[in-house]
Amino acid sequence: MIYQIPFIAVIGLIAVGMYAILFKKNLIKIAIGITIVESGVNLFLITLGYREGGVAPIYTHLPPGTNIPEGMVLPVPQALTLTSIVIGVAVLALILSLIIKMYRKYGTLNAYEMRRLRE
């Protein structure tokens, strides 16, 4: 039995992402940290929807013998994860373009150095 290992993996991912955001100075690492937290939360949504030995809920060429509701994985978490992934892409695109502007202006990616240059 895998007990709750996928859920523990989710917490591990979020912890790694939060560590990168809270304790790192480099802006790119903060952006990567956000992506890690985002993938952790997506993994959480997907593992919520998994059913023991389930097949994707698609009726085209369904392997015969799968009994309909129990043999299929839950569709709603997959829809939520799709939306969350695209939101992650959108946020990441915005953060990276902001970082490009910052790098052009200050020449450094270190958050604290920017504050020193700004004064």
Partner: protein
């Protein structure tokens, strides 16, 4: 000193979350009333074989409309940042 306080709060927070993971349902057996209904009725209500697409575009189509808006917003934001105008230089 600030880093140590931050580290302690960080560890407590994630220990709490870890503990909550054990309260959650058994990994392979989620409660699934809503989803069973969707799996059984997706075909005749929305006409699509793929239950996930019927959730994405019909049952929760409003989410996907919001979703397309999120993408549109981010791209408008990126275009705003990199606009090359006379006031640029």
């Amino acid at each position: 000193m600030r880093k140590i306080a931050g580290a302690i709060a960080f560890v407590i927070f994630f220990a709490f979350l870890l503990f909550s993971m054990y309260e959650l349902h058994e990994f392979g057996k989620p409660p699934s009333d809503m989803d069973d209904y969707i799996i059984q009725n997706a075909q005749n209500e929305t006409g699509a074989n793929n239950a996930v697409t019927s959730v994405v575009f019909d049952y929760r189509g409003y989410d996907t409309l919001g979703e397309a808006t999120v993408l549109f917003t981010a791209i408008a934001g990126v275009m705003i940042l990199f606009r090359r105008g006379k006031d640029e230089e």
